[in-house]
């Protein structure tokens, strides 16, 4: 397994070069659904981070015992358990937030991002690398969610975290906090990211 990426490579890759949302287009449901406010986006990212780190570490620990045809069952079982734990914790300590996020917390179970990391990284590499990979990917996920949420919240309500930052003369673009705003913002940001990375790789090729 000499050609497997090291822990640091995994960590760095997750944040930008292999950003789960912008580059791999994984986990789009929460990306669109909970990004009408930064607070919700950060809570969601925290929940995903918890589940991803726990699932990756457990999978990595038992990777030598995994049978090929049973591994998806085990991944699902692990993920579903940790999602339930995260859901209960939110309901107990951040009740208002858990009401806002509603069904999108349990929907983390079918978030392709997590099962994909278990399959690609954790079932093949050691605990340390798997943990680093999980944290890197979660940071990338958080970054993507926060970028979309920031754009939507500023344009849609004129504020961040519920505190007004734009002058009162700004008339709020209500559409940005409604469902269509999610699609439009994410589509435009995705195009922007593609354009930027094309330009950079073009430069690198020429230079």
């Amino acid at each position: 397994m000499a050609d497997q990426p090291t822990a640091i490579e995994r960590f760095v890759q997750g944040i930008l070069p292999e950003n789960p949302v912008y580059r791999q287009l994984l986990g789009l449901c929460p990306t669109l659904a909970v990004t009408n406010g930064l607070q919700a986006a950060i809570t969601m990212s925290a929940a995903v981070t918890f589940v991803l780190v726990c699932a990756n570490v457990i999978t990595s620990l038992i990777r030598n015992l995994l049978k090929p045809h049973l591994r998806i069952v085990i991944f699902t079982l692990t993920i579903a358990t940790f999602v339930t734990i995260a859901d209960r914790f939110l309901a107990a300590y951040l009740y208002q937030m858990s009401k806002v996020l509603g069904p999108y917390i349990p929907l983390i179970i079918v978030n392709c991002l997590i099962i994909c990391r278990c399959e690609v990284c954790a079932s093949k590499q050691g605990v340390f690398t798997a943990g680093a990979d999980a944290i890197g990917q979660s940071l990338g996920f958080c970054l993507a969610l926060c970028s979309i949420a920031a754009v939507r919240e500023i344009l849609g309500t004129g504020g961040l975290f519920g505190i007004r930052v734009l002058p009162a003369a700004w008339s709020d673009w209500v559409i940005m906090v409604l469902p269509p705003g999610a699609f439009l913002t994410f589509g435009l940001l995705l195009g922007l990211v593609n354009w930027y990375s094309d330009r950079r790789s073009g430069k690198a090729n020429r230079g």
């Binding site: 287009l25 789009l28 449901c29 669109l32 659904a33 069952v73 699902t76 079982l77 579903a80 358990t81 999602v83 339930t84 859901d87 209960r88 069904p103 349990p106 929907l107 179970i109 079918v110 978030n111 392709c112 099962i115 559409i175 409604l178 469902p179 269509p180 705003g181 999610a182 699609f183 439009l184 994410f186 589509g187 435009l188 995705l190 195009g191 922007l192 593609n194 354009w195 094309d198």
Partner: protein
Amino acid sequence: MLSYLIDIFLIGIVAALINNFVLYYFVGICPFVGVSRKISTAFGMGCAVIFVISIAALISWTITTYVLMPGAPLTQWAAGLFMTPEAAAGVDLTVLSYIVYIFAISSSVQFVEMYVRKFFPPLYKALGVYLPLITTNCAILFACLVIMSKIVGVDNPADAWDLGRGLTLAVGGGIGFTIAIVIMAGIREELDLCDVPKPFEGAAITLIVAGILALGFMGFTGVDSGLRKAMMPEPAAVTAQVQAAPEAGGGDVHN
């Protein structure tokens, strides 16, 4: 009876059009972006989703009502074998619901696949390739979760959803998914002929088009309250009739 039928009808309309699964709740986005290149494949995917979502709703409604919810009959009976009736009444298995749902969905997908392959080979040829993909389609789990939220923890036990309502929601949601993905595929077939800026090719332009589509679907908001008013004249509404008349049309007053 009539009011029940109206209720069912409205649940279906709301799930399919007004609060469309894809364009309002954002569930099932992955296949919506991934499998919407051609109308025929999109339609196949949609049919497979309708099929699986109804089975999943049936299973999850049954399990929730008889096993998982607090005071569910089967659990009460089973717990009653080991403990006092008072202790058995307090048994609450809702914490297990997410795990149970996801396994119910994946095993039902497996069984459906085997059954269809054995008995309906043509159908299997049409839908088979999409079936395994559906397990990780959030729309299915989402339908189960919505049904659960209508059964567990409602203030008024008489308002808890029966099987008919649950199934209608699931089928309506599946139809809504099909409508959205087929429209999207139609647009994308045309889009292939357009000159899209290079960074926006593929997913980015799909999402922007979906945004405009969602904007269009927003026009359905409020149709349900209008329909409800039109179909169910409330007996108590006599005193409020003075200003009720001009608004019977529904959604047009808003926005």
